[in-house]
Symmetry: C2
Subunit: 232 residues, 2 copies
Amino acid sequence: MKTLILISHPKFEDSSTQQFLKTSFYSLDDVKYQVIDELYSETDGIDLEKEQTALKNFDRIVFQFPMYWYSSPASLKQFMDDVFTRNYIVANRSLKTKELGIVVTLGDTESDFQAGGAEQFTISELLRPFQAFAHKAGMQYLKPFVVNQFAYMDPDQKEKLLVDYLQYLSADMPLSLASREKWLVERLQATKESKTDDQQQAIDLVINSIEDQQNNVESLKEDVKMIRDQEE
Amino acid sequence: MKTLILISHPKFEDSSTQQFLKTSFYSLDDVKYQVIDELYSETDGIDLEKEQTALKNFDRIVFQFPMYWYSSPASLKQFMDDVFTRNYIVANRSLKTKELGIVVTLGDTESDFQAGGAEQFTISELLRPFQAFAHKAGMQYLKPFVVNQFAYMDPDQKEKLLVDYLQYLSADMPLSLASREKWLVERLQATKESKTDDQQQAIDLVINSIEDQQNNVESLKEDVKMIRDQEE
């Protein structure tokens, strides 16, 4: 599965959150990214046809941005207005069946975003325009990935953020224990090749242990099902 | 009351809807407008301080735009990102108690905007980011003014649109029969000066007739109140 991250951030290079996330997804071969602001500043105007063609190569498109006035910064909207022509989206349905993910970073705490909270509305409500776009484009709208006050995270929280983020980019959706484990095994398999024999054996042990656990879970599920069936 | 219309439209001059609306508000002295796209294209960058100072002179600020992908075109968002700094809006609360209106024009029919409809979400839901902004800024969020498929309107519908639009720009909110009538009398008074004596007399007749009707309505309200009081 191929993923494109479209980043909208007027100060991408200065953002510690964005740089942290950027460092992490370098480890995934099938993940590409594009900073929209650089696309506009480095050229005289967007190459519509090039962008439209490029998008077709990906299965999952992720809009990644800090929340500015309850939406993305203007550059993502400019990109949508320019590249997502009515012809491309509605007539030709060029993005149909692809997935649309959203990675949004918040400066305020997420719990402010609810009725009665300081921000009054939920993230779900505020992102409705993107959800409506996905609906119109025939894309599958993924549950948004919210990065909540990155600046206050301790190292353990950052590590967890990293794994969750990488899974959001490349694991099968919707995320479940099974899809997360499948993703982890694939990652481990991919890293094996460049390692020494000893390390490869260690990785195999970890993979076996994960697969054993999966089998245990499967067998537990079977047991539960049997007990339920007997009760009925 | 002074009103500023901030228009976001990449092709303002070519839009028949926008040109129709523009012709109409020329008749109101206390209504100014600014096409944001022209502000950006005619200068090397926005004069932050000038824009921030100018906004303070108005009581009602109206964002006017065609709906592009379930939001405003990018230029309004760029203006918000540039001019509405956290300091200006949150720390200094510079727009506090002002009114925020939204005039949004739709190419599709408004009835598509509901659960189960082609667009799935209501206009209210899609404009949440603007409502959340008004909340944060301490502004009063006015009921959005939706212009529904202008291209298909007949002359009568356009005339009604015109009056409703002018009232949205300059009548007291929330709109009611009383505030609409007050607005109409003020408009008639304002046009009187440049007219001949005969015309002035005719206008006075219309004003008197409106005021008589207002008195009738008031007296009817009194009667209804008296009957209710007697019943209790």
